[in-house]
Amino acid sequence: MATKIYQAEETARTWSDASTSSDELMDIGGLAANGVVCGSYHDLGAAPRADIYEVSFLVDGFDTAPVVGQMVELWFAESNATTGFDGQLTTDPTDTAEGVATEPQAYNCTFAGAVRVHSTTAADELLRRFTVRLTSRYIAPIVINLTDDALLSTSDAHMVTVKAIPQESQ
């Protein structure tokens, strides 16, 4: 009998700053031009698991008027242990603390996508969604601000959300 394979959705995991309700820590509030932040890692577990994820990336505006067309990039560092993340980061993240990464180190990680500045209004949000294949047990997002302006630093709600979307035989 023919069996369709559909996409199923599982519980999402969020990264944000300590003042925002989220599962993991990544504070990109006030991230300067060319600044880099590596979030704490999430343990996907040793058991069989999803390998395809929907990732949404929200940049909640800037401190100053940004330049249309400039980008903020999102990457993922992975590892099958709690150390030894891709890029050989300056400091590996932990499950509660951010790591330390440079821009060149991030380029050896997995590129998820980039949000593009669409207006010069500092308060305007940037939001984009990607589909990413993550195959290692431990994952940590890395944000690179390639714009000329710092990300919003006050009462910001910047957020990375990762949701497993495994295929399911019906």
Partner: protein, 167 residues
Amino acid sequence: MASKNYQASETSTVWTSAGGDKLMDMGGMIGTPIMGAYLDLGASPRADWYEVVVKIGGGTWDPDIQDTLEVRFSQSNSTTGFDGPPTTDPTSSVEGTMTIDQVRNCKLCRTLLTTSTTAADVWQCRFRVRLTSRYVSPVMRGSGATPANNTGTLHSITLTPIPRETQ
């Protein structure tokens, strides 16, 4: 009843100069490609997707920032006739030999960037690749002005099957 299809990782294979599973000595690597001994994935139904981790560096090498090292795979459905084709096909225990032009006919997977001029640093990247032939051999080449560290055990390629499994 609906059943989710999850990734189930299998046993890894490591290519390096000594102490790994397969021979691939990237010590002193520069422009000339290094082609590892082949891995026989078997004739039975098998995984087609793999996670690959490439680790390069350390020691006395002083690279330029963002030198690139190409990571490719040569494949075959027999123990000869690999993509390229190589000057000399690899065996299960001996490296093959390839020219720069031959390597361009192999599957390009990713480039690894050197990210500092600090000699002791290590560079690591990860990617997913679909390998559909029975015999697979990784191929690496550097493009920088200085060769990789001469100690081959500092460099490795790790291949892990990641088939999906119906729960």
